[in-house]
Every structure is written in C-alpha cells, then in structure tokens.
C-alpha cells in the first residue's frame, strides 16, 4: 500500500486539458486558446489557483514571492475577464488580499516586534498549506481500495425465516390492561354508517337502477348501468345504490362465463351468489 501512496503527488498534473497534463503550460504565461476556461473550471476556488501557480513556479509556500505570484494571478484574472469568463467574487477578494500583503511587505518591520508572526504572508501560507494537506489526503483516499471498484464484498446470503423472539409481555400486563379497559368511563357506541347527504338522490338512483335492469331480464355489466358521463359523486351514489339493492336482495351479482361480475334481476335461483 505504501507503494501506491508514494506515487501520489498531488500536483498540477491533476489538471488536464484534452487529456494532457497541463504541467507543460509554457512559461511567459501563454495560455492556449480554450485552455483558460478548462483550467479555471478545474479549480474549486482562488486558493487552489494560487497553490497551482506556486507549485508550477516551484516556489516555497513558506517564502512566497508575493509580487511575482500576484502578477501571475492577476494575469489569469485579466485573461478571464478579457474572454468574458465568469469568475466567482472570491477570486477578486483573493486579488485584494494579495495586493494588501504586497503593500505590507513594503513597509518597514516595526522595531517593537521581532515576532515572526508579523510576516504578512503567514496567514496565506497557512491556508495554502491546509489546502495542500487536504489535496494530499484526498489523493490518499482515492488510492485506497474501494468496494465495487477494486474489490467486491459478498452480498449477504438470504436465510430461511428465523423464529421470532417472543415479545416482553407478562400475564400481569394483559390483566392490567384489561382492568384499565373495564374501568374506562365511556365507550364509543358500535359504529353505524349512515348517509348524511340525502339530497344526492340515493333513493332515486336505486329506482333508476332497478328500472334499468328490469327492462331486459339479462345480466348487465357495471359499465352499462352507470349513468352516462357521471362525475365522482354520481358514480359513488350509483355504487351505493347498487350495494343497497344487492343488500336488499332486489338485485343479485352473477358471474358470467368469462368469470366477470354482472348485475341481474333476481329470478333464477341457481345463479345467485350468496351475499
């Protein structure tokens, strides 16, 4: 495994244009046509662009030549603007930060502090180092063997149904619950279903259905006895009416030769279906 990791050198080689590593970007900042957009697209932010520039120039993160890096960084930004590429605001923010660092580098070091923390490049170096570490770690993860890519695990084999573990319940639990139910003050009366909208014409629909089926003593399919162009409510009422007529044994359900249900006026006892 150590072999695999030593091969990983997160470098500018991660950036490719048309499949070719972009390490060969010529000096003098010549940018091949169309390459800039691909190049900038491959960076997730300005810090990454900056890190790439530093690496390409083989500069030391802890001793960045800010003036030169800033010059190159701004060059890319200008190129991008010249070609009307959209860049996130963070790229301009980074440019401002670089300019600020450059300005502070020109100031004389105050005599009162010999603290090395004074180096205005320190925060930038810290952030670049953090990103470098993350890039290295991501490259390490990428080289680790991954399930479904470098190896396959077994998919758990099914097994027959296993006995269920008995639930935790004692006889006392049942007795207590029954006691509580008995002592419950009010109980709902047994539910009864009543129609609350007489105006939808259940009675009338029942009469129509009966009349319809009596016209011709043959089994009728459901579609034939439903009102034409009925809406949902009319269909529901029709169904209720049919069920009520079946319940009252005014109509019966019969099965035809193909096994489909039909509605018929009761006359032949042999084809009646117990309901």
């Amino acid at each position: 495994m150590s072999n695999a990791i030593s091969e990983v050198s997160p470098s500018a080689a991660l950036i490719q244009v048309h499949g070719q590593p972009l390490e060969t970007l010529p000096d003098g900042l010549f940018i091949p046509p169309d390459a800039l957009e691909l190049l900038l697209d491959s960076f997730s932010g300005p810090l990454e662009l900056l890190l790439w520039l530093i690496r390409r120039n083989r500069m030391d993160i802890r001793d960045i030549p800010v003036a030169e890096v800033t010059r190159q960084y701004l060059h890319y930004l200008h190129e991008a603007r010249r070609r009307n590429l959209e860049l996130a605001a963070e790229y301009l923010l980074m440019a401002a930060w670089l300019a600020e660092i450059k300005a502070r580098m020109l100031l004389p070091v105050p005599p009162v502090t010999d603290d090395e923390d004074f180096d205005p490049r320190l925060e930038l170096a810290r952030r670049l180092e953090a990103l470098a570490i993350v890039q290295w770690q991501a490259a390490v993860l990428h080289t680790l063997p991954q399930a479904g890519r470098d190896f396959w695990t077994i998919y758990p084999a099914p097994h027959p149904d296993l006995p269920l573990a008995p639930p935790l319940v004692t006889l006392a639990d049942i007795v207590n619950v029954w006691q509580a139910l008995l002592l419950r003050p009010t109980r709902k009366p047994p539910s009864a279903h009543t129609l609350t909208h007489p105006h939808v014409g259940l009675r009338q629909r029942m009469a129509e259905l009966l009349w319809h089926c009596h016209r011709e003593p043959r089994p009728w399919s459901f579609v034939e006895i439903l009102p034409p162009a009925a809406d949902r409510l009319a269909l529901a009422v029709s169904l209720l009416a049919l069920l009520e007529l079946l319940r009252q044994q005014a109509l019966a359900l019969v099965e035809d030769a193909e096994g489909r249900w039909r509605v018929a006026v009761i006359d032949a006892e042999d084809c009646r279906v117990g309901f």
Binding site: W152, T153, I154, Y155, A157, P158, H159, P160, L162, P163, L164, A165, P166, P167, L168, V169, T170, L171, D173, I174, V175, V177, W178, Q179, L181, L182, L183, R184, T186, R187, K188, P189, P190, S191, R247
Partner: protein, 167 residues
Amino acid sequence: MREALLALFLSSAEPLSRERLASIFDDNPDCAGWEAELDALLAVGEGPLQLACVAGGYRLQIHPRHNVLLARLHVEAPRPLSKATLETLAVIAYQQPVTRPEIEHWRGVTVSTQIMQQLQDRGWIVVAGHRETPGRPALWVTTSQFLEHFSLASLADLPTVMGAVEG
C-alpha cells in the same frame, strides 16, 4: 469453474438467470463447463450454502440446518408489545370469541390490520369461525400457544378482573 460461479452468486444482490450467466461466460472458452457446474451446485450446494431456484433465476442461500446458529446472530432482543397490541390481546383473551368491531368498541379506537397480523404471526390468536350477522364478521380466539406462553393450563386460569361490566 465452481469458484467463478460462486464468486458471481455471492457478490450479486439479485438472483442470476441462466441467460445472465451465459452472457457472462459464453464468449470465454475456458468457461465452457459452467452449466454442468451450475447443475452440480443446484444438486448438492457448497458448504453452508444451497442454490435455490427463485423468480428471476438462482441465488445462494444459507442451508436451514444452520438456523439455530443464525437465529443467534439475527434475532433481535425481545421488545415489549405496544399498548395498542396489548389492549387488543387483552380484549380477545377476556372476551373471546370476539369480532373486530367488538374489539374496537372495547378499546374505543379502530384496530389496525397490522396489529391483528402481528398477533397472528406470533401464533397467539386465530379465527375460530364467523358470527352469523350481516357481514359475517370473523370471530377471534386465543390459541394454545397463547396459553403455553403465559403458562396457563386453560382460559379458566386467566385471573379474574373486577370492573363495571356492561359491555
């Protein structure tokens, strides 16, 4: 060849059909014997595994002779019954034979099919017949497994509960 077959079956989430296996093996002359090997596997299995024919093809499953062991790995710790299930069981135990509407009347809420199914899966309740009223509702009673689980010799041994019984 057997190893290759096993490798395919063991890494697959779904059953593999003969057609699927053929598409994997058939352009490789080294794999010519795969069908004979599949039949052998189907006949005798391999170690703790048996090859079962299921919808969509074949899959390996653990031979039932290992059930006791697997139960120790897979069966979860016993959990208490929910209050709704417990109430339903209590009504059936004390009021049997009882219909589902009657259970609902005692409990004051509707009884979900899930609860009834759960108690049936346990083998604690069963339909003993139907009441000859409209709709012919099923009559629920407790089983002998119920008596065994609670160490009762008969239903008469259920502790008597005092309460205002007016149904």
